[in-house]
C-alpha cells in the first residue's frame, strides 16, 4: 500500500517537473546577434512566463570609467548611455540622488507592483469575497436546519444585568466602527471590479473618496474600541479547563444541551481572541498604510520569521513593496475577521433567542443566563445574596 503511494507521489512529482509551466524552465538564449542585448527569444520566453536569467541586462549598466574624453567624438555621452542608466534604475543598482524628502523618492521602477496588483485583483477578491458569501450561505443553511436556539421552557420573565453601560459602549464602538471599516474596505477593494460597471466611474469616484475618508478616520474609533474591550474583558477570557468541556460538547448547539460556562463561554473566548489578535494585526498594517513609507514592518517581520522558522522571505524590500505587503496582509486579515464577526452577529441576533438583549439594553432573561452562563449567574447571585434579578 505504502509502495503504491510512494510510486504515485513520484509519478506526480516527475510529471510536474517535466511540465514546462510548473517547472519554470530557464531557457538558454544566444545573444551574439544582438551584441548581448535582449532578443526576440527573451521576449517570447517572458510572455510564456518562463524564468529568465536577467543578469545579461541587470549587470549591463555601463561604466563611467570607460568614458571617452570630452574632447573626442562621442565623449560627451560618457561611459553610461541612457539605456544603461535606465537598466540601472530598473534593477536598482545605480546610485540615485534626489532632493525630494520621501523614503520612496529614489525608487523609480519597482518590480513588486504587478504581482501585488494581480494578487489584489485576483485571489484576494475571489477567495475573500467567496468566503464571505460562503459563510453567509452556511449560516442560512444552519438556520433552516437547526432553527433559532430558544430558551428551554421559555423566558423566566425576570432579568439580570449582563453588561454594564460602559461595556456595551466599548462593544458598540468596536462593532460599529468595524462594520463601517468592513463596508468601506470592500468598496475600496472591489469597487473597480463590481461597482464601476454598475454605477459608472464618476459616481464611483465620489463613493470611493467618501469611503476612503471614512476608512482612514473611523479606524481610530476601531483602535480605541479594541483597547477598551481588551481592558474590560481580558480577565474573563483567560482559557481554562471548563472551556475544553464546553468545546467537547460543541457548545450544546447540536445536542441541545447547555454546557457550563462563566461570563464568557469557549465560543465567545475564541471570538474575543480572534478579534484581539487579528484586530491588532489589522491595526498595525492599517497604520503602516495610513502613514505611507513611515512605518515599514514587513522586512523586520520577515527577518524574524526567517531566523525562527528557517524560511527565506525577502528582507531587502523597497518602500513600495512594504506598502504592497501591508495592503495584502490588511485585506486578508480583514476578511478572516469579517468571517468570524458575521458568525458572531448571527448567533448574537437571529440565531439565539434572548442573546441580543445582552448588548441591546444589558438586561438578559434569568433563564437564558442560567442555560448559557450558569456559573456566572451563580457568581452574581452569590454576590447579591440570592436576590440579584432586576
Amino acid at each position: 500500500m505504502n509502495g503504491k503511494l510512494v510510486g504515485a507521489a513520484v509519478f506526480v512529482l516527475a510529471t510536474l517537473c517535466l511540465n514546462p509551466v510548473w517547472a519554470q524552465e530557464t531557457t538558454e538564449v544566444d545573444r551574439k546577434s544582438t551584441g548581448g542585448a535582449q532578443t526576440l527569444e527573451d521576449i517570447m520566453a517572458r510572455q510564456e512566463k518562463l524564468k529568465i536569467d536577467e543578469q545579461f541586462r541587470s549587470d549591463n549598466t555601463g561604466d563611467p570609467a570607460n568614458a571617452a574624453p570630452i574632447s573626442e567624438p562621442l565623449g560627451t555621452l560618457g561611459g553610461r548611455s541612457d539605456a544603461d542608466a535606465w537598466r540601472g534604475v530598473r534593477y536598482d543598482n545605480i546610485n540615485i540622488e534626489t532632493q525630494v524628502r520621501n523614503p520612496a523618492a529614489d525608487v523609480l521602477i519597482q518590480n513588486g507592483g504587478i504581482g501585488w496588483y494581480q494578487l489584489r485583483e485576483g485571489p484576494v477578491i475571489n477567495y475573500g469575497g467567496g468566503a464571505l458569501l460562503g459563510i453567509i450561505l452556511l449560516l442560512v443553511i444552519f438556520y433552516f436546519v437547526r432553527g433559532r436556539i430558544k430558551i428551554d421552557g421559555g423566558p423566566a420573565g425576570t432579568t439580570i444585568e449582563r453588561f454594564k453601560a460602559v461595556e456595551r459602549f466599548g462593544h458598540w464602538l468596536l462593532a460599529g466602527s468595524f462594520i463601517a471599516l468592513g463596508l468601506t474596505g470592500l468598496i475600496t477593494l472591489m469597487g473597480r471590479s463590481f461597482l464601476i460597471p454598475v454605477m459608472g466611474p464618476d459616481a464611483f469616484a465620489t463613493l470611493a473618496a467618501g469611503s476612503k475618508w471614512i476608512h482612514n478616520n473611523v479606524a481610530w474609533a476601531f483602535m480605541f474600541g479594541l483597547v477598551m474591550t481588551f481592558v474590560m474583558w481580558v480577565a474573563h477570557n483567560i482559557p481554562n479547563k471548563l472551556d475544553w468541556q464546553w468545546l467537547k460538547a460543541g457548545g450544546g448547539i447540536f445536542t441541545k444541551s447547555h454546557p457550563s460556562a462563566k461570563k464568557f463561554n469557549a465560543g465567545q473566548k475564541i471570538v474575543f481572541w480572534t478579534v484581539m489578535v487579528l484586530g491588532v494585526s489589522v491595526s498595525l498594517s492599517g497604520l503602516s498604510l495610513l502613514f505611507p513609507f513611515q512605518m515599514p514592518m514587513f522586512a523586520d517581520t520577515f527577518g524574524i520569521l526567517n531566523s525562527v522558522l528557517g524560511t527565506s522571505f525577502p528582507t531587502d524590500l523597497a518602500p513600495h513593496e512594504e506598502m504592497q505587503y501591508a495592503n495584502l496582509w490588511h485585506s486578508i486579515v480583514a476578511f478572516v475577521m469579517m468571517l468570524a464577526i458575521i458568525a458572531h452577529i448571527y448567533i448574537g441576533s437571529v440565531g439565539m433567542e434572548g442573546a441580543f438583549d445582552a448588548m441591546g439594553n444589558g438586561q438578559v432573561d434569568v433563564e437564558w443566563a442560567r442555560q448559557h452562563h450558569d456559573l456566572w449567574v451563580a457568581e452574581v447571585e452569590a454576590k447579591q445574596g440570592k436576590g440579584g434579578s432586576s
Partner: protein, 41 residues
C-alpha cells in the same frame, strides 16, 4: 439601545476629530514628505 447609538456617534466624533488632531502633531503625509515652504495648502 441608547448606549449603542451613543457609541456610533462617538465613532463619528472620533473620525471627525482625527484629521485636525493628526495635523496638529504634524503627522500628515504632506508634512512628512515636504517642507512648509513648498506646500500648496
Amino acid at each position: 439601545m441608547k448606549v449603542m447609538i451613543s457609541a456610533f456617534v462617538a465613532a463619528l466624533v472620533i473620525a471627525f476629530a482625527a484629521p485636525p488632531v493628526l495635523d496638529q502633531f504634524g503627522w500628515s503625509s504632506a508634512a512628512q514628505t515636504s517642507s512648509e515652504s513648498v506646500r500648496l495648502d
